[in-house]
């Protein structure tokens, strides 16, 4: 946990420095940046310039010709992405995005205003790709690409969680996430990347999931949860792995296999699937729904994502069901079909329980678990006792990507309202399309970056604090594995009485299973508060 006291951290000076931003070099203060990628991880992936270095070093050991490499890569991306080219050109610097960024709100660093973060790269664009910039230089907001500029890119593009909140408010829809993605791709070309991203990517590439859980261990870990479920409910689900001929392939972020509180969400899945008798299989090869490739480059994203369709094809399933995750769903909703489709070997998803056709997923053939469960509840296919969650006062954090890259707003709320009796919304400026990042998304949720995470997560935490004080909220629900990994630390720091939960943990609590024993504890082993009567859908 961060040593600085919250009150201290909130002494934020929003006044910009005296020196102009081009003349204010970046300072790598401990707690505000992430460690560099280990050479072994870059080697597994065949990426350039593996070496030992740290961002705080004077010498970054850049490869010879690094400048040309970046300028060439810049040109290539301008030619490939209309978004990038357009976003380099049309910003009028109106500043509407400025105080929309959680990192700016929490740090006061002007280069965390999305507009200025983008100018860091726009200034180089103007210098090398516009006539006026070549001639007028600084007068036109253009500057040379130097090692200092590269360091600045590194610092600030790894201080953006690609949450896209700014793009909601931009009058031209300029998306800082897109600019950050390009910036990170360029940095990757010369081997300037962070380990918290590249290790999961390397793991996922070789072992199928970010955490590097090998197949036999993956099975063991899931079986461990079966013991827990059996203890609590008296029922032992029987999941299968890598099974050919299953109707559905289930893919979820590996973080939920590994660490609390995600594990409780995973138990919720297992219980639900058992209860409805779903013909599904896990895969150890495609055992990762998340995709840290998204945080490094489009190419890495595609290389990791390819496994999901490949495995669905090998196993001969009809369609794919995906668990609760944030950026995973950005990849699936906006990239997967384009990158690795068409998925013509799959069928248009139909719920085997309700017969509902998921029209909205008919091309990609992958359904979000929340859509799936909402449909089950709507059709009265599961019995729920929301009073089993009566010890919880729940609020819901819209995760950035399901919010601003999908529009998954009502389904989670519908499910929540059916599985718990005490649900309170945070202020509208902080939910739905206005939702705030957890502060640790896009691969920044590492401990050495703790100060920045607490700063970036402050707006979210502050909204939680509001409902905590007003309604006694003690549970923060979300549908994102990164949230479950990072909000936990955020709550400990800002709002210590609030715990984090996935929605399917609450589903698991409320789910009345056929033949179960009387529930005395919830999935965390904590005693239920009330008696169990009266609850039904």
């Amino acid at each position: 946990m961060l040593k600085t006291k919250p009150q201290e951290l909130l002494k934020i000076d929003y006044k910009p420095p005296e020196t102009s931003w081009m003349k204010t070099p970046v300072e790598f203060k401990p707690g505000t940046w992430c460690y560099s990628a280990l050479p072994k991880n870059l080697k597994i992936l065949g990426l350039p310039n593996p070496r030992d270095w740290q961002p705080s070093d004077e010498d970054w050991k850049l490869p010879p010709g690094w400048k040309e490499t970046i300028i060439r890569g810049f040109k290539e991306r301008l030619d490939r992405f209309r978004s990038f080219k357009l976003f380099m050109d049309i910003c009028v610097r109106c500043g509407a995005c400025a105080d929309k960024c959680h990192f700016y709100i929490g740090s006061g660093d002007p280069k965390n205003m999305p507009v200025l973060r983008a100018e860091l790269i726009r200034s180089v664009y103007r210098r090398y790709f516009t006539a006026a910039g070549k001639i007028l230089g600084e007068l036109f907001g253009a500057r040379d690409l130097t090692e200092d500029v590269l360091k600045e890119w590194f610092y600030y593009f790894y201080q953006c969680t690609e949450c896209r909140r700014c793009s909601v408010f931009c009058p031209y829809g300029i998306d800082q996430a897109e600019i950050t993605m390009m910036g990170r791709e360029l940095l990757n070309l010369v081997g300037c990347n962070i380990n918290w991203i590249m290790e999961p990517v390397a793991n996922c590439y070789r072992m199928g999931n970010h955490l590097g859980i090998q197949p036999h261990t993956f099975k063991d870990m899931i079986e461990f949860f079966l013991d827990d479920i059996e203890n609590i409910t008296g029922i032992r689900p029987e999941p299968t792995f890598n099974r050919k001929g299953a109707e559905i392939l289930f893919v979820t972020p590996s973080g939920d296999v590994f660490a609390d509180p995600g594990t409780y969400t995973l138990m919720g899945y297992l219980m639900l699937f058992h209860e409805i008798g779903l013909d599904y299989t896990w895969s150890t090869y495609a055992s990762e729904g998340g995709n840290f490739g998204l945080f490094a480059s489009h190419e890495l994203m595609k290389r990791l994502n390819a496994k999901i369709y490949a495995e669905a094809k090998r196993l001969g399933v009809k369609w794919i069901l995906g668990g609760e995750c944030g950026h995973m769903w950005r990849v699936i909703h906006q990239y997967m079909d384009t990158m690795n489709g068409p998925a013509d070997f799959l069928e248009e998803p139909i719920s085997p329980i309700t017969g509902t056709k998921f029209e909205n997923a008919k091309s990609t053939k992958m359904v979000h678990i929340i859509e799936f469960t909402a449909d089950l509840i709507r059709n009265n296919k599961i019995k729920l006792d929301p009073s089993r969650n009566d010890h919880l006062r729940v609020t819901f954090h819209d995760s950035c990507n399901p919010a601003r890259a999908m529009g998954l707003f009502e389904e989670p709320r519908y499910v929540l309202r059916h599985v718990c009796n005490h649900f309170y919304e945070m202020p509208e400026e902080t939910i739905r399309e206005n939702t705030f990042c957890c502060g640790g998304g896009a691969g920044l949720g590492t401990d050495e970056n703790m100060e920045m995470r607490m700063r970036g997560g402050f707006p979210r935490a502050n909204a939680v604090q509001y409902v905590h004080e007003k309604y006694g909220v003690n549970r923060l629900a979300c549908i994102c594995a990164i949230d479950r990994a990072t909000l936990h630390a955020l709550m400990d720091y800002w709002v210590p009485d609030v715990q984090v939960t996935g929605i399917h943990e609450l589903v698991g609590n409320a789910l009345v299973m056929k033949g179960e024993k009387k529930r005395e504890v919830d999935l965390r082993g904590e005693p239920l508060s009330g008696a169990e009567e009266g609850g039904d859908v």
Binding site: E119, L139, V168, M207
Partner: protein, 330 residues
């Protein structure tokens, strides 16, 4: 630096016109040649920029969704904030272009007593909208100079715009609104420290230029009365490609015209191109239902993947031991 330089640049430009027409008597240069050149630069430059943008493909479906997706039939779908069809996209874009929908969302956040408070912040939206509509109206009003007969709607707009009938000739409301809005847009850049910090000369220059155009325009109408018939003849000549420069139009007009020419020629190379760019913005002009319809990336290339076979080869023994199914037993 940006402010002083930009202001200086606009003053110099005005002086160029003053000297060129007032002292050197280059009426033809400033009345005909420069307008044609800048008009040419504008048209070709605008097309060039848009073509250049359009030449880069949109590889991925990167809509920013601002409302509920179209999913299950019983869930109310936010048709224009998260469109799933062309109509939805058209309406979303229209709201953006005509009403500045996204800017209307603007709010401000303030840290007070360790708590964040969010408040309404519509002034930028209001000033932006006022500025753009005032500019448009002024432009339409000016078409009386290069149309014959003058279209009925131009007369209506003039009529409406001068409704208050203050002074003679009537003060147009849009002239006042334009000057006020531009002044506001300038002042917020100077007064708000963060905004001043991010502002470039390229942000101040167009503001001063437009303010210069508005002021010289007002001067020609209300103070240094110019020969309107002469102006009309000049404009008609330009638009019918039979240029003439009538005598005695008045110096103020030439300064006004020259600044307009500078703005027009500067346009394609500046941030003002957001006018064209907004239509191409992929986060706004695409549907949000990317799982329903497949989007094709024209440069999609094969990448190196780690196949299931390679994976099983590495872990086969462990998999067999754990009772996991495998493709090959040894």
């Amino acid at each position: 630096m940006g402010i002083g330089f930009s202001l200086f640049a606009v003053v110099i430009l005005a002086c160029v016109a003053l000297a060129g027409v007032g002292a050197a008597r280059f009426h033809y240069l400033f009345g005909v040649v420069i307008p044609y050149i800048s008009g040419g630069i504008f048209i070709l430059g605008f097309i060039w920029r848009v073509v250049k943008w359009a030449a880069s493909p949109v590889p991925f479906h990167i809509t920013t969704t601002c409302g509920q997706q179209k999913s299950l039939p019983w869930i109310k779908w936010s048709r224009f904030e998260n469109p799933a069809d062309t109509l939805g996209v058209v309406v979303r874009m229209a709201l953006e272009v005509f009403l500045f929908r996204s800017l209307f969302r603007n709010m401000k956040s303030e840290l007070k007593d360790q708590k964040l408070a969010y408040g309404s912040a519509k002034w930028l939206w209001l000033a932006g909208l006022t500025f753009h509509y005032a500019f448009l109206t002024v432009l339409v009003r000016h078409s009386r100079f290069f149309t014959e007969p003058i279209p009925f709607f131009v007369k209506w707009i003039e009529e409406l715009d001068g409704l208050f009938a203050i002074a003679v000739p009537t003060v147009y409301m849009t002239d006042v609104a334009l000057v006020l809005a531009v002044t506001y847009l300038f002042l917020r850049r100077v007064v708000i420290p963060q905004l001043r910090y991010i502002s470039l000369p390229a942000d101040y220059f167009p503001l001063f230029l437009i303010l210069g155009i508005a002021i010289t325009g007002i001067i020609t109408r209300h103070f240094s009365k110019v020969d309107l018939l002469g102006v009309k003849n000049l404009a008609m000549g330009l638009f019918t490609f039979k240029p003439v420069v009538p005598d005695g139009i008045g110096l103020a007009f030439f300064v006004h015209l020259f600044l307009v020419c500078v703005l027009v020629a500067y346009f394609p190379f500046s941030k003002l191109m957001h006018m064209g760019g907004i239509f191409l913005s992929p986060t706004r002009n695409m549907t949000g239902d990317s799982r329903r319809k497949r989007h094709v990336n024209p440069w999609n290339y094969p990448v190196k993947v780690h196949t299931y076979e390679e994976y099983e080869n590495e872990f086969r023994d462990k998999m067999i031991q754990a009772g996991l199914p495998v493709e090959k037993r040894e």
